[in-house]
């Protein structure tokens, strides 16, 4: 009964390819997020979606396109992958209002070669 599940766990691909990462939560949260963790473990917000609507887009290159078909799903599509995109991508969810923590997925390690 995984609360936030993301697939795939590992992704190795060549430069220039297009890839997608999927995320689903079964917690009934109204807000979902994508975070990027670099090789130094620094976590940075990429996108936030509330009830399928984009509410945060943190100056991410437009090669990254999130899609939220419903409030339980948030997918991330990346076009024309570059070496610098190699990182671990985490999906998370929470309630938007109130003092709540995030529930994170286990991450997708993307390696661009």
């Amino acid at each position: 009964d995984t609360a936030v599940s993301q697939t795939p766990k590992y992704l190795v691909t060549q430069m220039g390819n297009d890839k997608s990462i999927k995320c689903e939560q079964n917690l009934g949260h109204d807000t979902m997020y994508w975070y990027k963790q670099d090789s130094k473990k620094f976590l940075k917000i990429m996108f936030s979606y509330n009830n399928k609507e984009l509410i945060i887009n943190e100056t991410v290159p437009n090669r990254f396109s999130p899609k939220s078909p419903d409030k339980a799903h948030l997918n991330l599509h990346i076009n024309s992958l570059e070496l610098g995109d190699s990182a671990v991508y985490f999906c998370a969810s929470s309630h938007l209002t109130g003092n709540y923590g995030y529930t994170f997925g286990s991450g997708t390690r993307l390696t661009v070669v």
Partner: protein, 113 residues
């Protein structure tokens, strides 16, 4: 620029000892949260302290918050080998919901059996 910075960057202690990690941040906050990340895994929410609270406990965890100094500390008492992980503080902005958490740089804690 990055909101939070943890201190120390790395900490090694003997099992059974107490571990203290500190977090400093730069702007006003709505709440401050602590997360644990085991190697190769997602982040796990540990504890949240609101901006109008000064101290909070959860099991072996004790968190303090000093908004005048813009700092927080996480104390883990009677450490165990299973506490070995990276610990991150994260802050939410006042006047907003949870649409964006800004994470610190993390403290790598190693418990020596």
């Amino acid at each position: 620029s990055q909101q939070g910075e943890e201190d120390p960057q790395a900490l090694s202690i003997q099992e059974g000892e107490n571990a203290t990690m500190n977090c400093s941040y730069k702007t006003s906050i709505n709440n401050l949260q602590w997360y644990r990340q085991n190697s190769g895994r997602g982040l796990v929410h540990l504890i949240l302290i609101r901006s109008n609270e000064r101290e909070k406990h959860s099991g072996r965890l004790r968190v303090t918050l000093d908004t005048s100094k813009k700092s927080s500390s996480l104390l883990i008492t009677a450490s165990r080998a299973a506490d070995t992980a990276s610990y991150f503080c994260a802050t939410g902005r006042p006047g907003f919901g949870n649409e964006k958490l800004t994470f610190g740089t993390g403290t790598r804690l190693t418990i020596i059996p």
